[in-house]
């Protein structure tokens, strides 16, 4: 009964508790609010933090105090320091609302929430699936998927929602084909995912969805064992599980991570990246006329830097006392690395508030840094290159169908972007 009651407590209620705690502590709430009039920019308070208080204190949704790092260099330093742990079961780890819900339910951890050597062992069993050559070999198929989605959008009514027509199906079909997950089930796992990245959802809903998806993947793994296919799940069973590098029990939760991380962030980058390009028509036009794949790749790096979708930062907990930038962080204290602030750090990026597809900077932290840097980054890059290039080449008259201030940005989600993007051409 107690368990049911606590499951029914929504995070909105917890947030209210945090607000009164904030008043008591005098500390600001993290993450801070964006300015709805400047939807592509980081929350305005982060500029002041970068300039005047690069290491500061804030409180999270659950009232926990954390260290907030606003500058690029400090973030890179912490991400390469093994004394900062990514283990979300370690006391003091700055949990998201939804992570707390899954953790309470006893959910297993994927490799991104483990420290070395366990993290290293699992990651090593996966990386050969994501090499540059392996992903480049998928490029023709990705182009086909993008062209198919675009054909359907162009044949349909105007205006269209670019999120539904392109941003959602492309990464979903791609990751499903790679893993060997039936795309026919996409509505189910997209709904679960929508709960997992929400700031406002009921924690019981998150926990149940996570569990249901995990069970779905356990069954899928069983069926691949019976009948292997030419897909990643079958290869992982044969090359990693059977060879003893990964246990059978570890496989489903790591597949869950790959399935969801392979979709949501790329969907959001396609949505917000298109919105950015449509605000800068001359840059969009250049993407359409160029014959240089390196230019397209460079433009994608700039969109990754400029349009940060990580609204909640990268999180760690100190496993030992560590001094960073003259500040002592004690063992057990949580740290948040504010990557959308790092993307605007003028010490690193000149004229950082302006998007410039000619910038030629690949040192952004959009995929993180250190040993936990995104395993699927090459896949994401190829998808984004293919989508933006195809849009600019095939639909040069593409434009927003509503004023920018009517586009629903994802202010209510832990991963930012647009809920929908009404476009016409």
């Amino acid at each position: 009964m107690t368990e049911m009651a606590s499951a029914a407590v929504s995070d909105a209620a917890v947030s209210d508790a945090a607000v009164s705690d904030e008043a008591a502590s005098g500390l600001p709430f993290f993450p801070m609010e964006r300015d709805a009039r400047c939807p592509f920019d980081e929350p305005p308070a982060y500029r002041r933090l970068r300039e005047q208080e690069p290491i500061s204190r804030a409180v999270l949704w659950n009232g926990r105090k954390v260290w907030v790092f606003a500058r690029y260099e400090d973030q890179r330093t912490i991400l390469t320091d093994p004394r900062f742990s990514a283990d979300l079961r370690r006391p003091g780890y700055p949990l998201l609302n939804t992570q707390a819900a899954v953790l309470e339910g006893g959910g297993a951890r994927s490799f991104v929430f483990l420290d070395d050597p366990e993290h290293d062992r699992v990651r090593r069993s996966l990386i050969k699936e994501f090499t540059v050559k392996r992903i480049e070999a998928l490029r023709p198929r990705i182009e086909q998927i993008v062209d198919g989605a675009l054909d359907a959008m162009l044949a349909g009514p105007k205006p269209a929602d670019l999120v539904k027509a392109l941003a959602m199906p492309v990464p979903s079909v791609v990751i499903c084909e790679m893993l060997g997950v039936p795309y026919a089930d996409h509505e189910f796992f997209q709904e679960v995912n929508e709960h997992i990245v929400s700031r406002e959802v009921n924690s019981g809903t998150v926990r149940d969805g996570h569990q249901e998806l995990n069970e779905y993947l356990v069954k899928l793994v069983d069926s691949k064992r019976e009948q292997p296919g030419d897909d990643m799940i079958s290869r992982l069973l044969r090359d990693q599980v059977d060879e003893g590098r990964m246990t059978l029990e570890e496989l489903p939760i790591n597949l869950l991570l790959l399935l969801l991380a392979g979709q949501e962030p790329t969907t959001d980058m396609i949505g917000i990246g298109t919105a950015v390009l449509l605000q800068h028509p001359e840059q969009f036009a250049e993407l359409g006329t160029t014959q240089d794949p390196k230019f397209v790749a460079g433009a994608v790096e700039e969109i990754l830097r400029y349009a940060s979708i990580n609204h909640v930062g990268i999180r760690r907990v100190a496993a030992a006392d560590v001094e960073i930038g003259g500040q002592l962080i004690r063992a057990g204290e949580g740290v948040v690395l504010v990557t959308d602030s790092a993307a605007r750090d003028e010490e690193v990026f000149d004229d950082a508030a302006q998007p410039d597809v000619h910038r030629g900077a690949r040192n952004h932290l959009a995929f993180g840094y250190g040993v936990h840097q995104c395993i699927g980054q090459t896949l994401s890059r190829v998808e984004l290159q293919t989508v933006f290039r195809a849009l600019a080449r095939r639909v040069p008259t593409l434009r927003l169908a509503v004023p920018l201030d009517e586009v629903p940005f994802r202010h209510d989600m832990n991963i930012y972007g647009v809920h929908s993007l009404p476009v016409t051409w």
Binding site: F130, T131, V132, K133, I135, Q373, Q377
Partner: protein
């Protein structure tokens, strides 16, 4: 320039193979860094230094 790589530290992010594909590759079997050109020429030096700077596991050392 002269390069050393530590494939035991490498986590297979693939940035080196993306930035300087003539110099770095990834093992088909392991996914970790493979050095194709241990002493790249000056024309490749800028890419090699960028690869070393971007490498998230700091597995690339560049010497003059």
């Amino acid at each position: 320039v002269k390069i050393d790589v530590a494939s035991d530290k490498c986590i297979g992010a693939g940035l080196c193979a993306m930035v300087a594909p003539e110099v770095f590759d990834q093992s088909t079997e392991k996914g970790t860094v493979v050095l194709l050109t241990p002493t790249p020429d000056e024309a490749q030096a800028a890419d090699v230094r960028e690869a070393a700077h971007l490498c998230p596991s700091r597995s690339i050392t560049v010497r003059r």
